[in-house]
């Protein structure tokens, strides 16, 4: 096969604009408007790729996105993209492309040796070879298999391009810019509908580039051109070229990718590479056209064998002749059209092979006029050649399996095959529309719509121009009716001299000359007729099994050029009709989608939105290392110069115990509970009671789930007779609020209570340490800090300068401590004021790491102890639930399983090791697992590594020595079991 450029041809190319490009290191020249494939064909390139499994040499098969063979890798460096169809890549100056799946080169591919293992690499290869051989053997072989299989290489660096995402609303969404889509759009635009029209390529008219017929007296493509011009001027019409619809979802939502700058060497400044559109349409019109079907015979994958209509496209659109000596094998009239038109354009068509014995006399005349050798009643039995086609063998057509009649050899470098057309119904199938078989065209068309869409044109099996245009009008009328728009039901369209309809003569399973010959059904996955037959013999005959057992139709092309042939073959094997055999469903996406396009701009630090406290910038300026908790950024530690994490949090924790520290607690969930029944509500929610809590007092509250396990804890402050402020842990804030709303809404409507989130209203900080009172007393006015006026658990209101503050004497660290709440906008000022006032006392800001160390030293439970598997009894809080009334979880917490004395209960562990223990480590006694570590830290006060753990019959082990192991890192320590409160068990420090 050696293609060349035809003179004065090619409606899409501009020969005045030359483009330089590179393929596999060789430099070539093409024209503006070429695709990579057309330019390479014009330069005489035959070999484009190596096939998936067998590494067979492959050439271009088609002229569109259904291309199974010519997959290339584009661009270099971090913009590298594998598996691009050379047939759809728009050529630009400076384009660099490489072939795939071949080593060391496309021409000399060592992996072609796979072909000799072909008998082993049949359908079901993996199952049969590795079943029963054990994991180790599979893992060993997998390494090599993975190297050998696969197509292009994925890139390893981050995608530097920008992608955008947007939402798009429209009344009518028309998919496809061919004759059907254009006429539907034109008809609806004329009556004022709001339309979005998308077309996959950058050219309009679709199949009209090969259509000889006239529409309303003009050549078909002129008509298309005019329609597009009218549509673009229409304000209510949005036209999106280079946009592929890849998914059709429920509720008439669709996903499409607009290739904004893929046709340029680099995107312009701020230009996204691709844009993802989420489309919400009232009605959809699917005009996705059809794909030509190959015929299956021995050697049908040799470079030089390709689809007939595609060859015509190369000539008409790009002015490229695909070869010097061309044979055409067709089973329908459209093949003749391709042959005759090609001959008229100067391509050397030497023979027509057709299994049908009788031919339309008009076609017969044309064939004779063009001097094309005609072989009626014959079929191609094999194509022969190595890296390119050498010759073709034909024989008389016979319906029986054995071939009869003599073999005739025709030397040729291109064999065009025309097997009919398969409507593209992927999108319809994605939303569950069943496919109906149409006998005449031997193909499936969309059945009854499951969503508000209508298909028209070739996609609906209307394969000739007249019925396509009629179908488009019908679709437009239906759509208009649904949208309540008036329409003249007979817009005038006159079609003359249109191309003939392709009515294929069924040709399934052409016999081969020898049994080891390969007849490819799925070119992209290297699935042969033999594979399908084996699958059937082994019982995998249903289409669903067949597909998965042979991987037929599972490649990136989703079997666009292979599904129908496979279905026809399996139906024949099973002795049933094609509709009886049925089809599989098409999955999203119908065309490959770049992951970047799906992510849009939600990458990097935009991965999820960040919540900041008002002191955020101050933290960062003062050396804080931030950590992500529940969507908020909180300081983990404040590192001084040269400090390690360990040194920093030890210093901070020591400062709190000896002096005073301040920590930002704004992220804690805060919920306002208001209403006459607020107290009653809280009593029902918490395990401990709140009815009697006086105004101005706070109380620790612990909440259970309905199943009796601990849900969350926090403090509740009574701000008034009917108003409380609940705090929750940062992580559970949203869940707790939802739970409260659910209870009030569904089950307790008799309670007059409102719950509202206040997490954004208040900034919070905890000032903790023996000197905390002194610091705060120096700046907070309007309240007294004396022991009588401000006892532990009291809530008071005061001011710092002009800023109002609420002070609650609560402690998480076990030291004297006060939680300060101030309206959010004053947060930074109040923080800085406290820092200023605390300077003479050596105030230290501290983060979550030291906060954790402090609370662990006191045995206070945190998130890891409330992981949903612990009860109050497990963590030593059973006494809190002594009230008589019911509350969430009060019944199921008494299930005998939750009361068993065999349960893991919380204890403290002191380790002798120098490294900290790890949460999740296993606790062993005499090599038996007795528990696990929940929280661990280094304790600056004890100068030892400590942990909280859940151990079976924990209290019984106090004083014993156990072992803690972390097998993943081969760590083991000896520990002593102690009471979970490691420091100041009497709680004296609260009054320090």
């Amino acid at each position: 096969m050696s293609g060349y450029r035809l003179k004065d041809s090619g409606i899409y190319i501009d020969t005045a604009q030359e483009l330089r490009f590179e393929f596999d290191g060789k430099k070539y020249v093409g024209y503006q408007g070429d695709t990579l494939a057309s330019a390479l064909l014009a330069n005489g390139v035959t070999l484009f790729a190596r096939s998936f499994k067998y590494h067979r040499p492959r050439g271009v098969y088609t002229a569109g996105p259904e291309e199974p063979n010519a997959l290339v890798s584009l661009r270099t460096g971090d913009r590298h993209e594998p598996n691009c169809h050379a047939t759809t890549v728009e050529l630009y100056d400076g384009l660099v492309a490489r072939s795939q799946n071949a080593w060391p080169s496309l021409n000399t591919d060592f992996m072609a040796v796979n072909q000799f293992f072909a008998p082993l690499l049949i359908a079901g290869f993996y199952y049969k070879t590795f079943m029963g051989t054990g994991q180790k053997f599979w893992h060993f072989c997998e390494h090599f298999i993975r190297r050998a299989a696969g197509m292009g290489q994925g890139g390893l660096s981050a995608d530097p391009d920008k992608y955008e995402k947007t939402n798009h609303f429209t009344d009518v969404f028309i998919i496809g810019g061919g004759p059907a889509g254009l006429l539907a759009a034109d008809t609806l635009a004329k009556i004022g509908a709001k339309i979005t029209l998308v077309e996959e390529s950058n050219n309009w008219g679709g199949s009209l580039s090969e259509e000889e017929g006239l529409i309303n007296g003009e050549p078909a493509l002129y008509w298309a051109n005019n329609v597009v011009k009218i549509l673009t001027k229409n304000e209510k019409v949005t036209v999106l070229p280079r946009t592929t619809v890849y998914g059709y979802f429920d509720d008439n939502t669709l996903g499409a990718i607009e290739r904004v700058s893929d046709h340029k060497q680099m995107p312009k400044n701020n230009e996204p590479r691709q844009r993802h559109h989420k489309i919400f349409a009232k009605r959809v019109i699917i005009a996705t056209g059809s794909v030509e079907r190959p015929i299956v015979f021995e050697g049908n994958d040799i470079p030089g064998v390709m689809l007939a209509n595609s060859a015509l496209r190369y000539a008409k659109r790009y002015g490229v002749a695909v070869g010097n000596k061309v044979v055409v094998f067709t089973n329908n009239d459209d093949g003749y059209h391709s042959a005759i038109e090609l001959k008229k354009m100067g391509v050397n068509i030497i023979a027509m092979v057709d299994p049908r014995s009788t031919l339309d006399p008009e076609l017969k005349t044309q064939i004779e006029e063009q001097n094309i050798e005609h072989h009626p009643g014959c079929m191609v039995t094999s194509a022969k050649g190595g890296k390119s086609l050498n010759h073709v063998n034909i024989a008389h057509f016979s319906r029986d399996s054995g071939s009869s009649g003599s073999l005739q050899r025709i030397n040729a470098d291109v064999l065009l095959i025309a097997g009919g057309y398969t409507p593209t119904i992927n999108l319809c199938s994605q939303i569950g529309t069943k496919a109906d078989f149409v006998e005449e065209i031997q193909s499936f068309v969309p059945g009854e719509s499951t969503q508000p869409f209508v298909a028209c044109g070739a996609a609906k099996g209307q394969l000739d121009l007249e019925s396509t245009l009629c179908g488009a009008v019908e679709a437009a009328v239906q759509t208009a009716k649904y949208l309540n728009l008036d329409i003249d039901t007979h817009p005038s369209i006159k079609v003359e001299k249109a191309n003939r309809k392709a009515i294929p003569f069924p040709l399934t399973d052409i016999p081969s000359t020898n049994s080891s010959a390969k007849k490819f059904i799925d070119l992209q996955h290297d699935v042969t007729v033999n594979d399908l037959k084996i699958a059937h013999r082994e019982g995998f005959s249903s289409v669903e099994h067949l597909k998965r057992y042979t991987t037929m139709g599972m490649a990136a092309d989703q079997g666009k050029t292979s599904n129908m042939n496979a279905l026809a073959l399996i139906a024949k094997e099973r002795g049933i009709s094609i509709p009886e055999a049925g089809t599989t469903s098409f999955r999203v996406p119908s065309k490959p989608v770049a992951l970047g396009a799906l992510a849009g701009r939600d990458v990097g630090n935009h991965y999820h939105a960040l919540r900041r406290t008002p002191v955020h910038e101050w933290h960062i300026k003062n050396g804080a290392e931030m950590v992500d908790t529940g969507g908020w950024h909180r300081p983990r530690v404040y590192k001084k110069a040269g400090e390690s994490l360990f040194e920093a949090y030890s210093r901070e924790a020591k400062a709190v115990r000896n002096n005073v520290g301040i920590v930002d607690v704004t992220s804690l969930g805060k919920i306002d509970v208001q209403g006459p029944d607020a107290a009653e509500f809280l009593d029902r929610v918490y395990a401990n009671s709140f009815q009697k809590l006086p105004v101005g007092k706070a109380k620790y509250g612990i909440m259970l789930r309905d199943d009796g396990y601990i849900f969350d804890d926090g403090t509740v402050w009574r701000l008034g007779e009917t108003q409380f402020l609940m705090t929750t842990t940062t992580v559970n804030a949203a869940r707790v609020l939802s739970e409260l709303e659910r209870l009030l809404s569904l089950y307790w409507p008799e309670l007059k209570v409102h719950v509202s989130s206040q997490s954004d209203q208040w900034a919070g900080m905890a000032v903790a340490g023996p000197k905390s009172r002194s610091v705060l007393e120096s700046i907070i006015t309007d309240m007294s800090f004396s022991e009588e006026d401000c006892p532990v658990m009291s809530v008071r209101k005061g001011r710092i300068g002009k800023w109002p503050v609420m002070v609650a004497r609560l402690s998480f660290s076990g030291e004297r401590a006060y939680e300060i709440l101030t309206p959010r906008n004053y947060g930074l000022d109040v923080w800085e004021a406290i820092m200023d006032a605390g300077k003479p006392f050596g105030i230290t800001p501290y983060g979550t790491e030291s906060m954790g160390a402090l609370r662990i030293e006191k045995g206070h439970i945190g998130g890891p102890e409330m992981d949903g598997r612990t009860t109050l009894g497990d963590v030593g809080m059973e006494r809190l639930s002594s009230k008589k009334g019911s509350y969430i979880g009060s019944v199921l917490k008494n299930r005998h399983g939750l009361k068993s004395d065999d349960r893991k209960t919380m204890v403290g562990l002191i380790s002798d090791g120098i490294k900290p223990l790890r949460p999740g480590s296993v606790v062993l006694k005499n090599n038996e697992i007795v528990g696990h570590v929940t929280s661990a830290t280094f304790s600056p006060i004890l100068d030892k590594n400590i942990a909280l753990a859940l151990v079976r019959k924990g209290k019984k082990h106090i004083g014993e020595n156990l072992q803690v192991v972390f097998p993943l890192k081969d760590e083991a320590y000896n520990v002593r079991v102690v009471d979970p409160c490691f420091y100041d068990a009497e709680g004296k420090q609260l009054y320090a």
Partner: protein
């Protein structure tokens, strides 16, 4: 999947949070019968076909909605406002 909130209109599923099965009945606050609570907390029929469930519109009005959804086709046949404000929504527009 889109759910038509009676208060806010048709919104994407990502704006909602699944709350639970709407066909189970929570025992009264003062009910201490372990069996009733066990059935409410753990027993679910998991039907194939039409199912009633509770969703909360957490991204907007925070109403609890009773949604009748088909677990096979995901088709939503009705959405009603639950709770003390039942009957509000579209009529109140």
């Amino acid at each position: 999947m889109k759910i038509k909130c009676p208060i806010c209109g048709k919104r994407e599923a990502s704006e909602y949070t699944y709350i639970g099965d709407a066909t189970v009945k929570r025992p009264d606050v003062n009910n201490t019968d372990e069996q009733s609570w066990f059935e409410y907390v753990f027993q679910r029929r998991n039907p194939r076909g039409d199912h009633e469930e509770h969703w909360q519109h957490t991204a907007a009005c925070r109403s609890i909605l009773k949604v009748k959804r088909n677990t096979v086709t995901h088709k939503i046949s009705s959405v009603d406002l639950e709770g003390p404000w039942q009957g509000q929504g579209e009529e109140n527009n």
